[in-house]
Subunit: 68 residues, 6 copies
């Protein structure tokens, strides 16, 4: 009965990639802990880059610096 | 001082239904644990069906199969 | 497929009370949104009173003041 | 390696205010617990006022009453 | 900069299994979304079986029935 | 009505430090967004070092390497 919450920045994650994350996380729990996929929840939260900070910077700023 | 977080798929939950969830969760905490409604928070997260997986499938796919 | 997370202070919640919270939250989601109990998760987190603050005070201090 | 999740209602928080929250929370963890800013995450969730309840009322209703 | 939160019941997960979950979730995010492992957080929450409900039952009861 | 959740590793955080985090986070929300302290919740989760991973390593291992 695991619950997996994956939070990533909202930067163009496709439906196919989300499906890969769901399958991968479910399989991981089954492989390591023998958890039943039928009751494994995976929820993906996409967070705006203005709303995510690391090292005192929001990711919008981080991405701008990376493009320079 | 309870905090209740209800996560459901984003499939047309109305404002009236959200209000019912808020009242119902607050009343539940008051009835069972005698918690004060004035400091009971209820937060509802609506998650896109592409972003929620169960049994290795996203809910978008599950809904398509149910409609067949 | 709802996920309900109830966070309360760790102040002697009994197993019977936890079971009432689980049933009450599951029934609420079924009544309001017609959600299937078989895939409704309810998770209760019990948080130490030192670790929960409201109005700039931890709940350990709040409880001491209430007892005066 | 702290993770800080700030949830507020979605009522016009500006990018500059979000940046202030990110800096303030990161500095707080560094000052109190000597945590490294480079591995401090701050994530801000903006929640619709219909989806946040306190004292059995959603915040949309609370705001209407305040304006009266 | 992903954040992955894995919640499972507290039923004897070993340190080696936790390490496998950490590696597996980090590798999944790198493979699917090209996320940097250096800023990928994985946090595992172990929840008491009395505190986790599915299908209106706590997992303590579910386990008792399974053993019959 | 903000909700702030601070997750740190369980490595000897004192009650006084927790109180500082509660005050600091509450004041931050008041200063930046004019939020009322009376309805600001701060919850601190202390996570075992085996249960927190960054860069594919759990923090128990990271700490051992740092001591070398």
């Amino acid at each position: 009965m695991p619950y997996v919450n994956i939070r990533v920045t909202n930067e163009g994650v496709t439906a196919a990639q989300k499906q890969e994350l769901i399958e991968g996380a479910t399989d991981l729990l089954q492989r390591v802990l023998n958890k039943n996929p039928a009751t494994t929840f995976v929820i993906i939260d996409e967070v705006e880059t203005d709303n995510w900070g690391v090292n005192r910077q929001n990711i919008t700023s981080v991405r701008k610096q990376e493009r320079k």
